[in-house]
């Protein structure tokens, strides 16, 4: 299935989707990274904007300053999510984030939170920053500029994707499924390699 979504979305919208589905986003998308989430969760600073019903992407964009609190895009890509896994359950439970976008996936705690509260993980094609940059229409707002480039970014996107539902709100995790299958394949591969 293919879904076109525009935030804010509800847990019900997310529960319709299953791993392997394709998603295209329009409208608002928030950019976060390690430092942004350290401020929210380790330093206990409330985000200056309502994230409820929204999607967050793991990024530290390359930007050019064009005015007071105003930036234009240079190159915006996506980073590995796994190292920010510990923040995902909080984003979902406390702030109502409905989708996290990144590469390489999240772990069991995040999968459980997504199931419980109706959220998902959307895999983007890592390394495809040129395409991603062209799909971001504008950097609408930037909060916490002192964390540059790991600020809290508000982007406006058009036809953003393709994104693949890699963790759905039903407890399915495509990365874990693939890992399981790989493990099943290994004995035969070892045998053929003679190891």
């Amino acid at each position: 299935m293919e879904y076109h979504l525009r935030a804010p979305v509800t847990p019900e919208d997310i529960r319709k989707m299953k791993v392997g589905d394709k998603v295209i986003l329009d409208g608002t998308l928030f950019g976060i990274r390690d430092a942004t989430q350290i401020r929210i969760f380790d330093q206990g600073v409330e985000p200056p904007v309502d994230l409820n019903g929204h999607f967050c992407i793991h990024t530290a964009p390359g930007v050019r300053k064009i005015g007071e609190h105003k930036y234009e895009k240079v190159c915006i890509g996506t980073t590995t999510s796994t190292r920010m896994d510990r923040f995902a359950p909080g984003l979902i439970e406390k702030y109502g984030v409905r989708g996290i976008i990144g590469k390489a996936g999240l772990l069991e705690g995040s999968v459980a939170a997504m199931k419980k509260f109706g959220a998902c993980y959307l895999a983007i094609v890592g390394g495809a920053a040129a395409l991603e940059t062209t799909q971001i229409e504008e950097i609408e707002e930037v909060y916490w500029e002192d964390l540059m480039p790991e600020c809290l970014w508000k982007f406006r996107v058009k036809d953003f994707g393709p994104l693949i539902v890699a963790i759905d709100a039903h407890g399915n995790n495509l990365y874990a499924d693939v890992k399981k299958k790989v493990k099943e394949h290994l004995p035969k591969i070892y045998q053929k390699l003679g190891v």
Binding site: G62, R64, V74, A128, H185, L186
Partner: protein, 293 residues
């Protein structure tokens, strides 16, 4: 005899870094196109279609393929017919790397290893990484720029096996390392392998292996066969494009080998992500520059 044109080396070092980040070599594009045709999983197909679209968008609009500008590596080969001051070559390469970062501008990914303080110039202690070698009979300097992103570099590994473990242990280690890396290095990857030497040479060989054109086999038929065997094994795992499942996990396994000690059996792995970026130039003493890959 007039002085070697060091300034041309500097300009070329700048241009190579930027060009490598924007335009993939024809062999990499061909390998990705072939992968997109061969892949059978719908998700894998979608990923590879997007990868190819991204490469086209970057080239057409003069944009960076990936936001991770990496650490700059220059592999330099100096023609034996040239007379030049090597330290000035190093200085020119460093300056070129710095100018690419500041003048383009590029996001500098360089920082101090302990304090984690950013180095905004894209240069620092030991960065860019520069390797020198020599080309008998040549009258030019050959510079290969390989910007290396962290997603794939973080998946590097070195293992010092005992000789009795043989090639068997080496093969298993390579496969297990790729499986462990999973989605992290942005597959389909190029898996570079170093065999033999000392620990440091082994790791360097693995890096040289990922910098080879995709599909170029090791000239030793025995090693080339090992490359093919391992590629087949890795693609049988089912990791797939971006680790989301599929039959294309790896574009090529490329091995470089050296002799080793009677009691050593080292293997090193260096992984390159699907944007296997590299750019090459030959700089002649009259200032002429030939660009390539």
């Amino acid at each position: 005899m007039s002085e070697f044109p060091y300034k041309v080396i500097e300009d070329t070092a700048k241009e190579l870094y930027i060009r490598a980040l924007k335009k993939l070599p024809p062999d990499v594009k061909a390998a990705l196109e072939k992968a997109a045709q061969k892949e059978t999983s719908p998700t894998g197909k979608e990923v590879l279609k997007t990868v190819l679209q991204n490469v086209e968008v970057a080239e057409k609009n003069d944009m960076l393929i990936c936001q991770d500008t990496g650490l700059a590596i220059y592999m330099v080969k100096i023609g034996s017919k040239l007379r030049l001051d090597g330290s000035k070559i190093t200085e020119a390469l460093r300056e070129g790397c710095k100018r690419a970062t500041l003048e383009h501008p590029l996001r500098s990914s360089v920082m101090h290893t302990i304090t984690r303080k950013p180095a905004p110039t894209g240069t620092g202690d030991g960065v860019p990484i520069i390797y020198y070698d020599f080309l008998p009979g040549a009258d030019y300097v050959d510079i290969l720029a390989v910007p290396k992103g962290s997603g794939s570099e973080n998946m590097s590994a070195l293992k010092m096996f005992i000789p009795a473990a043989g090639v068997k242990a080496v093969k298993k280690f390579i496969l297990d390392t790729v499986v462990e890396a999973g989605a992290n290095p942005c597959p389909p990857t190029v898996v570079g392998v170093g065999l033999g030497g000392t620990a440091d040479l082994c790791v360097k060989l693995a890096k040289e292996a990922i910098a080879r054109p995709i599909g170029s086999h090791n000239p030793d038929p025995m090693v080339a066969q090992l490359e093919d065997e391992l590629l087949e094994a890795i693609n049988a795992t089912g990791i797939g494009p971006m680790g989301l499942g599929g039959i294309i996990s790896c574009l090529a396994v490329q091995i470089e080998i050296a002799h080793t000690h009677i009691t050593l059996n080292p293997v090193a792995i260096n992984t390159q992500c699907w944007p296997a970026r590299r750019a090459r130039a030959k700089v002649y003493s009259d200032g002429k520059v030939e660009m390539g890959f």
